[in-house]
Amino acid sequence: MAEAASNQGETLDHVAKVIRSKNAGPFEITFDIMFDDADAYARVKRSGVIDAMRIASLYRIPPTDVLVCKPFDAALAFKITIRRPVSSGDWLDTDVYGCQQHVPLTGLVVPVA
């Protein structure tokens, strides 16, 4: 887990309740960032830190491979879906379920207020 980042803000793993990744079918990985606190969710949403370009650079994929990146107010959640660089279980895959690919998101820095 990333350390809280000084006085510029906090890392996402300190603000979100759930940060997870999972296959959405064998050719996509989807990420859910979920909050148990409406204020924390609103702060992250306002900050704009979760955006498609940043996700593309974090996962070193072309921006066009970020298929979905948007907030879902009813669930206090962000939904991000990317095209898998390698399909689930194919020769070069490292994670058949795709459930350990969330780590780069944990270090995103959320500005204070």
Binding site: V18, N23, R60, F72, A75, D93, Q100, P104
Partner: protein, 452 residues
């Protein structure tokens, strides 16, 4: 109040579930018991080989409890994607288990078996009329690819289930099916809103994964009414919250607003989640939008060859420091010895403890104390795959590197034998849409009177 109550015993058939909580759920007077029994989630092997994920005894254990309970309550038991890939072979396995349980328990019922495997010749014929729309693979789907694939299955929607229920089926065992359709069929047949029924089915298909504490082995109850549904866990000590239920609505779906399925998509953009009491959540506003053309998803995996592995531990810090150079040298030696690329063989190393999980996304850091090294070979035969893996092991075991202290051997083996033949290796090659004229057209239903 008009309602339909569905009970989902388990989020993963064969993995076991909380029997006390299931009994409590059954005491609520359900109209049906639904069980999802398959997925692509465990990777291409199960689709490619047509083998179930778990041993037969585990499925029999889980099915026996739910079949007896459903028959005692005189309500349908509906099982989808039996077992794992839902191809004809595993479907027949599941049907055999059901017959066996019925004979042992003296149960009689009308059973519907719904196939979901599409004949390769039929598929190739259809491909000549119009290319299939890919929703995954980037390579073109050719007749040769189809031939290299294991069984090809299609995900059925609610319609074949409804047809079976209308024929009086008391037990339905279906091949590959869209998870939520298993739970939405009976409500849709009775005229309930399809968007709500599918969304409720989506919550039920993973059972207790939508509750707190989250657990696939905890039963879930869904109560569908005209303009909303309510979900609650079977376990009286567990609870659903708006966050847990809304959260599960996102689970394994690429998008929450538009969740495509057989024949249309479910639109959750107007969905609301409301805490009804300490344990249950009410959901409103999910809308099903039918497609102009009814399409189903096809799935299949093609064989790449055979895989063999060797797993070792490396503890020496100097070897760990020199490892990348050693692995590159081993690859070069294997190429020299076997003519790897030309012979259609591949070799790779997974360095657990360092970067085996995240690969190139791993930011790095201090050198690990030890590395779990998996030597993995792929070849046209099992024999060749093991030969490559064992050759690479042999080279690494006594390879010389700068600063070496340990000239008696480089790697620790967890057990003997060293070389493990893993069997055929696959990749998903068919993940395409097929347009149907009739939602039931490729899902034949067989009715059987089981009498004991």
């Amino acid at each position: 109040m008009q309602q339909i109550v569905g009970v989902a015993p388990s989020g993963s058939l064969g993995s076991g579930y909380n029997i006390a909580a299931f009994k409590r759920a059954m005491s609520l007077g359900p109209d049906f018991v639904g069980q999802d029994a398959g997925s692509t989630d465990m990777g291409p092997y199960y689709h490619g080989s047509g083998q179930p994920f778990l041993p037969r005894t585990t499925y029999k254990h889980d099915l026996s409890i739910m079949l007896r309970a459903a028959r005692a309550a005189q309500v349908p038991l509906i099982v989808g994607s039996a077992l794992t890939s839902g191809c004809n072979t595993t479907l027949e396995n599941a049907v055999g288990i059901i017959r066996e349980i019925a004979a042992e328990e003296g149960l009689s019922f009308r059973m519907a078996v719904i196939q979901a495997e599409i004949d390769k010749a039929t598929l190739k014929q259809r491909m000549t009329l119009a290319p299939l729309e890919s929703i995954g693979p980037t390579e073109a789907l050719t007749p040769e690819t189809v031939d290299r694939c294991g069984p090809i299955v299609a995900q059925m929607g609610v319609e074949p289930f409804i047809k079976a229920l209308e024929a009086g089926a008391e037990v339905i065992i279906a091949g590959r099916a869209c998870d939520d359709a298993v739970f939405a069929a009976l409500p849709v047949m009775r005229g309930y809103d399809q968007g709500l029924a599918l969304h409720c089915g989506k919550i039920l298909e993973c059972a207790g994964l939508s509750a707190i504490p989250y657990d696939l082995g905890e039963p879930m109850v869904g109560i569908l009414r005209r303009d909303h549904f309510v979900v609650e866990p079977g376990n009286a000590d567990h609870r659903c919250t708006t966050v847990s239920v809304a959260g599960h609505s996102l689970y394994e779906r690429g998008d929450f607003e538009f969740q495509p399925g057989p024949g249309g998509l479910n639109d959750l953009s107007g969905t609301s989640f409301e805490q009804l009491d300490a344990r249950s959540v009410r959901v409103r506003g999910s809308r099903f939008i039918p497609d102009v053309t009814y399409k189903v998803k096809l799935e299949a995996a093609e064989q790449l060859g055979f895989r063999s592995i060797v797993i070792v531990g490396i503890r020496d810090p100097i070897m760990i420091r020199e490892l990348d150079g050693l692995l590159a040298e081993t690859e070069a030696r294997a190429e020299e010895r076997f003519g790897m690329a030309a012979a259609g063989m591949r070799l790779r190393f997974r360095t657990y403890g360092r970067d085996a999980v995240m690969g190139r996304l791993e930011p790095g850091g201090a050198p690990p104390r030890e590395i779990g090294l998996m030597i993995e070979a792929l070849a046209p035969t099992q024999e060749m795959a093991t030969a490559v893996a064992m050759y690479s092991r042999g080279h690494l075991q006594h390879a010389h590197y700068a600063g070496i202290l340990t000239t008696a051997g480089n790697m620790a083996y967890p057990f003997s034998p060293f070389g493990i033949p893993v069997g055929p290796a696959y990749r998903f090659a068919v993940y395409h849409l097929l347009a149907l004229r009739d939602p039931c057209e490729i899902f034949p239903i067989t009715l059987e009177e089981v009498r004991n």
